[in-house]
């Protein structure tokens, strides 16, 4: 299992701020997790469609599609940041 976190507009679009999911089989990466999530329904498919602007952090460090995942990881998805 990994913990998923969603922030800001992604949280609102997906209607979820935090959940636990089983990792997809094989050598899981952010990419395989995102493909898995896109298969849930049209809304998830749309939010993570190619060309959509989102960022991902694994265990609170900026990550990318190729970042490997292991059980217990915290994976956060969010839009480009706008602080300051």
């Amino acid at each position: 299992m990994v913990t998923l976190l969603f922030f800001a507009s992604l949280r609102e679009s997906l209607g979820s701020s935090r959940e636990q999911v089983a990792l997809p089989g094989g050598n899981a990466t952010v990419s395989s997790l995102v493909e898995h999530l896109r298969g849930r329904d049209a809304r998830w498919n749309e939010v993570f469609a190619p060309g959509k602007s989102w960022r991902v952090a694994v265990n609170q460090q900026m990550a990318n599609l190729a970042t490997p995942l292991k059980p217990g990881d915290e994976v956060a998805f969010f839009p480009p940041v706008t602080g300051g």
Binding site: F7, Q60, F78, P79, V81, T82, G83
Partner: protein
Amino acid sequence: MATVRVQAADFDAGAELEALTRGRADVGAVASFVGLVRDANDGQPIRGMTLEHYPGMTEQALQEICAEAGGRWKILDAVVIHRVGPLVPGERIVLVGVSSAHRGEAFAACEFIMDYLKTRAPFWKREDTPGGPRWVEARSSDDTAAGRWDEDPAGAAKR
């Protein structure tokens, strides 16, 4: 180790900058930046905004940005305070303060920390406009501002 705080409450910029120099005589310069909530953005009046963040990662990201600044310039200390939650126009959002022996390092490191904060620290603004709330879109000019430190770090340090 820089002082990093993420808080809902306002801050006293003068007291925070004073703390950078208290009890030490090796500081020759303190540079600072204070960011405020404007009453308009992208042609829309702004009644207020709410700042969301990623607790834990935010503080870590700010510490890393300060450490990165410390690797590039000879700075003596730094403070970053960023507010979260609801804010109205005129309120302070963020303070960056940097102390060093000479002004060049303090100016450069302060601007660098702010540019990196804008593109790397996990904060998000939601503005309240007459048409309803809207999430602020990231600006490509912020990426450009952060990117110039990579293209020509030596030149940036000499500015």
